[in-house]
Amino acid sequence: MAQERRYIFHIKRFLPEISSEPFWQTYELTLSSWERVLDGLIKIQDYLDSSLGFRKSCAHGICGSCAMKINDINRLACQTLVKDLPEIIKIEPLPKLPVIKDLVVDMTPFFEKHEKILPYLINTENLPERERLQKPEDQERILEAITCILCGCCTTACPTFWINENFLGPSALLKAYRFIFDTRDTAQADRLISVVEQMGIFHCHSALNCLKACPKEINIPQHIIKLKKLAVKKALRRSLKI
């Protein structure tokens, strides 16, 4: 049975038209045990303070809009049930991205990283009349990678990204993996170069923060390790040929 409980939402706010400095604001509200942090934020916006800014769309963890830092962990507000949290819920925008307003960050730097790894299928072969065949086990190799919702939880949790904003970051590397290991893609070499030569795979020090942060439970470090292995293997092969 649903139980009601009082919560304190302690939110880091930023209203650029009022002050150039962020500030903390506290709201008290009662929520049912089945409600999510997103429901709480909506109640605040709807009934307590309409100036509170945050993004939302699907409300069930598939669109990637509502990533934020909740009690020190990057996660999706729509996938975090309040009953699993203590009475005081601390909410901040995703770290290290410019804040536009309150919990709304500018995702441009995040998406620009994706653009650097040629984020689209490239295939220069003649197209067959029907679908290209792909073995189920080959499709399964990219199955985890294609579940990425581009929410940004992983990259903004990564200590390498914190100290070096040019680092491609786990999300873009995962996207690179998604194409490099897709049997239908023919641009493997170019893409491997892009993830090696830009601040890419070899700048990942396996801090594993992304593993904990991913709301879709994708094992991102494992994917990056596979990329590293492949890059090394190809490099060796090339050096042997020379």
Partner: protein, 585 residues
């Protein structure tokens, strides 16, 4: 520091050959064609991959025949019958035959479909899709686990980037300018900075999705508010078949989040409080895979007659007898959100479900090329197109079959894009007259400065409740009249709305007020169309007129807004092959 005065603000002008509103499947698919002949910009109030299309789980219908024998002709038949014979058969035939190349093309564009053992696109069963003209269920839904929409949306977005389509994300369209019967351009608000942008253009493709948010319980994303339909409606463009709104049978109880029909396609069954598989009674052949309108009514009837689970207002969707591997491999997403939201493992416990508002069959009337119709006589608005859930071609008639919506977005998104490309040379660049800009500014000014006791959220909540209680699965003249009265009442109260957020940067309250203003129009169009149609067909069920009446009502409803109030016209259904028969499943 301090807030900016909107009336004084600079306006940014842009010129693109084609403006597309919406970055869901329909908008993206259209862009790939239009960009072949000229510059294309997509305006979207969300970041592209946040569009509602990403939530689609189950699949795309296409008679590929990869898993068993199938035929586009059967798909055609099923769609006609599913539509309760209100769908236009020329359009349906075109869609079902185009389905095969459109899905193959998606594969070529990089969509990571699930695969059969021999490497082809995998297919599964879905409600209402059959072989041999209704004899038994067929595997027709092409899927990527239960994240089909997500897989397709990402692939199309990636291809649009590759092909130099320009995106302005988090831009909310406030006006679509039609003057002298020609599409001229679009006025949009950049949400981040709160400033206006003008797009004068040769062609406009509206691909803004549905409007499920007018209902309280819905599977639809927050942005699914439908203002673009209303913007056109206010300029005299009709809306077609608005009374037909689909309720999906299996929304998570209390949340409305969808459990895909694919779950029943994989063998899931519905159970009432007595442990009976009640669909056997309502649809002896297709049972749990009957069309959605039939199942939604069946569930609510069970509940009404006291056979909900423990007498409560839900039934069970039971997947516990399925091979756990199927849940893991083919339905991972729904398994995970049952666990997250309800603490239920669907492999071990049944899932509590009720119908949830899901899909608008009606919308902006278009022809097969996506051209927006201005009347029932086939005349259209030059340079204006619509595709996807916002449009009504009509391929879904009175009830859409599962998997036919993604198909519709793709087939007719592509057609709209192709037609723009083909006629491109004849289109002139539009002009937005200054009075239109002043009007938009005036509305923003009203929202900024109006004083009164009303607030956006409570009014919206009231509207959503009204539609849910009085105009959803079961309707009567009385309930609809009450709904209409309440809508008018709420609209009146909206005049006294006051916004508390006075900011320009990412002012969501103002956007929501703007959306609410338009939701009143859509709610009214829906309720009035439902009042007019004195019969029951597909998703439109009138308890006071419980039978289908082909004699009088085998026709499309067109509602027009005129200075004198709303007006109706009707358009005959196109019937080519399949004569209406009784709909038994």
């Amino acid at each position: 520091m301090g807030y900016t005065d909107h009336t004084q603000m600079e306006i940014v002008k842009h010129q693109y050959d084609t403006v597309i509103i919406g970055s869901g499947l329909a908008g993206l698919r259209a862009s790939l064609e239009a960009v072949k002949v000229g510059s294309v910009v997509i305006l979207t109030k969300l970041y592209p991959t946040r569009s509602h299309s990403t939530a689609a789980q189950g699949g795309i219908g296409a008679a590929l025949g990869n898993e068993e024998e199938d035929d586009p002709e059967w798909h055609f038949f099923d769609t006609v019958k599913g539509s309760d014979f209100l769908g236009d058969q020329d359009a349906i035939e075109f869609m079902c035959y185009s389905a095969i190349p459109i899905v193959i093309e998606l594969e070529h564009l990089g969509v990571p479909f699930s695969r059969t053992a021999d490497g082809k696109i995998a297919q599964r069963r879905f409600g209402g899709h059959t072989k041999y003209f209704g004899k038994e269920p067929v595997r027709r839904a092409c899927y990527s686990a239960d994240r089909t929409g997500h897989a397709v949306l990402h692939a199309l977005y990636e291809q649009a980037l590759k092909n130099q389509v320009k995106f302005f994300e988090e831009f909310q369209v406030l006006d679509i300018v039609i003057e002298d019967g020609i599409a001229q351009g679009v006025i949009a608000l950049e949400i981040k900075r709160g400033i206006l942008h003008l797009f004068e253009t040769k062609a406009i493709i509206v691909a803004s999705g549905g409007f499920g948010k007018i209902f309280k319980v819905t599977s639809n994303a927050f942005a699914t508010t439908g203002e673009c339909l209303s913007i056109l409606f206010e300029q005299g463009i009709p809306l077609e078949d608005m009374e037909f709104f689909q309720f999906h049978p299996t929304g998570l109880y209390g949340l409305g989040i969808l459990i895909t029909e694919g779950a029943r396609g994989e063998g899931g069954i519905l159970i009432n409080g007595r442990g009976e598989r009640f669909m056997e009674k309502y649809a002896p052949t297709l049972k749990d895979l009957a069309p959605r309108d039939v199942i939604s009514r069946a569930i609510l009837t069970e509940i009404k007659e006291g056979r909900g689970i423990k007498g409560k207002e839900y039934v069970y969707l039971d997947l516990t007898h399925l091979d756990p591997k199927i849940l893991e491999k083919r339905l991972p997403e729904i398994s995970s959100f049952c666990k997250t939201y309800l603490g239920i493992d669907p492999a071990k416990e049944p899932i509590p479900v009720v119908p949830t508002a899901h899909y608008a069959m009606g919308g902006i009337p278009t022809d097969i090329k996506g051209r927006v119709l201005r009347d029932t006589n086939g005349s259209y608005v030059a340079g204006l197109y619509a595709a996807g859930e916002c449009a009504c071609v009509s391929v879904h008639g009175a009830n859409r079959l599962g998997c036919n919506s993604l198909l519709d977005t793709l087939v007719f998104g592509k057609e709209a894009g192709l037609d723009v490309a083909k006629n491109f040379k004849n289109f002139l660049r539009g002009k937005i007259p200054s009075y239109r800009i002043e009007k938009v500014k005036g509305f923003i000014e009203f929202l900024n400065s109006n004083k009164g006791a009303e607030r956006v959220a409570p009014l919206r909540e009231r509207l959503q409740r009204t539609l849910m209680d009085k105009a959803s699965v079961f309707r009567t003249k009385r309930s609809l009249e009450e709904a209409l009265e309440e809508i008018n009442n709420l609209r009146e109260r909206f005049r006294k709305v006051e916004l508390k957020d006075k900011g320009t940067v990412f002012n969501q309250e103002r956007l929501q007020a703007f959306e609410l203003y338009h939701m009143f129009n859509l709610a009214e169009a829906l309720v009035r169309s439902a009042l007019v149609r004195e019969e029951s067909r597909g998703a439109h069920y009138r308890e006071d007129f419980p039978y289908r009446d082909d004699q009088n009502w085998l026709k499309h409803t067109f509602i027009f807004k005129t200075p004198q109030g709303v007006e109706f016209k009707f358009k005959p259904v196109v019937i080519t092959k399949f004569q209406p028969t009784e709909r038994i499943f």
